[in-house]
């Protein structure tokens, strides 16, 4: 009897430990909304070339014919993530929408020299950047899922930078207009200051709104963690090094910080 009891305890513990060990290997399913816009190229590339799969993400792309429908689907939890124009996303955030920006995307480049000089034209182009957003309240395993998602987008960006023409060719069947090389600037970094400029241009900070309202919806730390993971795998890659050189990430401060990096709190943490 005693032996059977011990065996049962052993088996139970074994199951629990295996479950814990497999938590990091867990696969997540995501529905990812996108628009017929070349600015979504990194998302389409990540799906087309298996970068999501490599991060153990099973991503189903869902095409929307309007921003409003896409953002509404995200807010309602019908999709877990999406690539939508920054201006529309920021307006939703200002209207208390529970969306989090986790990565930047493609921004159309000005076609004329005059447009480069014109502040309002620049602002308008910035607002058209296809940023990646999640609805953290609806996304299972949010932080880990989001980090893997962003890492896949960083990998897609890497490919886009190294083989732009070929990469854009490979996703043309997703888009009604063939994206032209050089017509878009791609940047996976969800740079707070870039969005803050658009936020200001659109006059979205209202009286009584917390000063950190926008920042509470921009998850740069997820991008920093994802970039860190990508660099760990491929430290000499020039595209990744360039991304790292411009990212504003909070530096590690502590002995053994790397080992602790993925933990959210310590034993004594409140």
């Amino acid at each position: 009897m005693m032996l059977i009891r011990r065996l049962l305890i052993f088996l139970t513990l074994g199951t629990l430990l295996c479950g814990t060990a497999n938590a990091g290997q867990r696969s997540f399913q995501l529905r990812f909304g996108y628009l017929d816009d070349p600015g979504s190229a990194p998302v389409l590339l990540a799906a087309e070339h298996g970068y999501f799969k490599r991060e153990r993400l099973s991503v189903t792309l869902v095409k929307f014919d309007s921003v409003d429908k896409g953002v509404a689907a995200l807010a309602a939890g019908k999709i877990e993530a999406g690539a939508f124009p920054a201006g529309d996303v920021l307006r939703t955030i200002a209207g208390s929408g529970d969306l989090q920006i986790v990565a930047g995307g493609g921004t159309p480049m000005p076609g004329e020299l005059l447009a480069e000089l014109d502040r309002s034209a620049q602002s308008e182009l910035r607002a058209r950047e296809m940023v990646t957003v999640i609805n953290s309240g609806k996304t299972a395993g949010t932080k880990e899922t989001a980090t893997r998602l962003v890492k896949a987008l960083i990998r897609a960006h890497q490919q886009l930078q190294q083989h732009e023409t070929k990469s854009l060719q490979s996703i043309k069947h997703h888009l009604s207009h063939q994206p032209l090389p050089g017509a878009y600037r791609f940047d996976p970094n969800p740079d707070y200051y870039r969005f803050a400029a658009t936020w200001e241009d659109l006059g979205l900070q209202k009286p009584g709104m917390r000063r950190d309202h926008l920042n509470s919806h921009v998850y740069e730390e997820i991008y920093c963690d994802a970039l860190d993971r990508a660099l760990d795998e491929d430290p000499q890659n020039e595209v990744l090094q360039k991304l790292s050189s411009v990212a504003v990430c909070i530096p590690d401060c502590c002995p053994d910080a790397k080992k602790r990096k993925n933990k959210t709190s310590k034993g004594a943490t409140p």
């Binding site: 707070y192 200051y193 803050a196 917390r210 000063r211 950190d212 309202h213 926008l214 920042n215 509470s216 730390e221 860190d228 660099l231 760990d232 790292s244 050189s245 504003v248 990430c249 909070i250 530096p251 590690d252 401060c253 502590c254 002995p255 053994d256 910080a257 790397k258 602790r260 990096k261 933990k263 959210t264 709190s265 310590k266 004594a268 943490t269 409140p270």
Partner: protein, 343 residues
């Protein structure tokens, strides 16, 4: 019978003590495990917090980002998480206020023994044309570039910086010869010397005296709503500073117990080489300089009016209060002179 009376008396004392603690205002304080953050442990262990009228719980964090996220989420009332991290949070909208400091100096430039003679000259020009490893936006990165600029060196042109994710990776790169030297902070350079035979070529303070490192930051709303509690907190740290300056042996033991770092390393860094100073002064001018250095380095293009997030008056009131009780104390008078110079 006597045994019962003693037990009853002990129970009364315990209950009275618990009742006193329960009535004191509470502060949840976050920190990262660095030797120069030791004033918290001294104040706690010597009973200065309770003596000043504040009940403090200490919480250790593994990174500045985690600590500040807890502060932002109001799981903490105050904490010490470097300088860069709170500056970034504030510039992005967090309503934090600097009310004091915890560490001045502390960054060192390490190299391999065979490069020591070449790199340990008294002039920063020895680093021209060299490749330096660093953790981007760490205090060492920001202050070393500030020191180079002060010395008239165009570091963007004359020095190559190689960024690493952790200071352990910087040490590794120096060891392998991938970089000529590396910027590190305590206790990493002591560990690099002890474990890998590397050498400290310079402490950055040699070129940039009294530069700011880790600052004490709190919620602006809470500070404004209850400045008296934060004043008591700082009074306790001011007294802890005096203890640290006048009781080296006991301080080393307190730090060692709290941080579980080699006692020799703590003694060496704290009292022999004096690589950092655990000073609670807010160092307002230093914070503003630090922000300017971040901007000069090109990490952040937008400026932000940071001065409104620095409150020096609570520290000054705390210092004045401590001095009123011991007006002739030399340590406190030195702190007052230091405050006047740096704020």
């Amino acid at each position: 019978m006597m045994k019962k009376i003693i037990t009853a008396l002990l129970l009364c004392v315990t209950l009275a003590s618990a009742a006193t603690a329960a009535t004191l205002p509470k502060l949840r304080v976050g920190y990262v495990p660095e030797p120069a953050h030791g004033l918290y442990f001294v104040a706690k262990e010597k009973g200065y917090f309770k003596d000043e009228g504040v009940d403090v719980d200490l919480f250790q964090f593994g990174s500045a980002a985690e600590g500040l996220a807890a502060l932002k989420a109001e799981k903490l009332d105050v904490g010490t998480f470097g300088t860069t991290a709170p500056l970034l949070f504030i510039s992005k909208g967090s309503e934090f206020t600097f009310i004091g400091g915890m560490m001045i100096g502390g960054q060192a430039i390490i190299t391999r023994p065979e490069r020591l003679a070449e790199l340990s000259g008294k002039d920063l020009k020895v680093y021209k044309g060299k490749k330096i490893g660093l953790v981007k936006l760490s205090t060492g990165d920001v202050i070393f570039k500030g020191a180079l600029k002060k010395a008239g060196i165009d570091y963007k042109k004359d020095v190559t910086f190689v960024e690493f994710g952790t200071v352990a990776a910087v040490v590794e790169a120096v060891k392998k010869g991938a970089v000529d030297a590396g910027l590190t902070y305590p206790p990493h350079f002591s560990l690099a010397e002890k474990n890998h035979g590397l050498k400290v070529a310079h402490y950055i303070e040699e070129f940039y005296p009294d530069y700011t490192c880790c600052r004490i930051v709190a919620h602006t709303g809470k500070v404004n709503a209850d400045p008296a509690t934060y004043r008591k907190f700082l009074s306790a740290l001011i007294r802890a500073y005096k203890f640290y300056k006048t009781n080296p042996d006991e301080t080393v033991k307190i730090y060692t117990r709290a941080l579980k770092i080699d006692e020799d390393i703590i003694r060496n860094e704290t009292y022999v080489k004096r690589v950092a100073e655990s000073n609670p002064d807010p160092l307002r001018k230093g914070i503003l300089d630090f922000w300017q250095h971040i901007r000069d380095a090109g990490y952040i293009s937008q400026d932000y009016p940071l001065d409104k997030h620095i409150n020096t008056s609570i520290y000054k009131e705390a210092l004045d209060g401590v001095i009123r009780k011991e007006p002739k104390d030399k340590v406190y008078q030195q702190m007052l002179a230091f405050y006047k110079k740096n704020n």
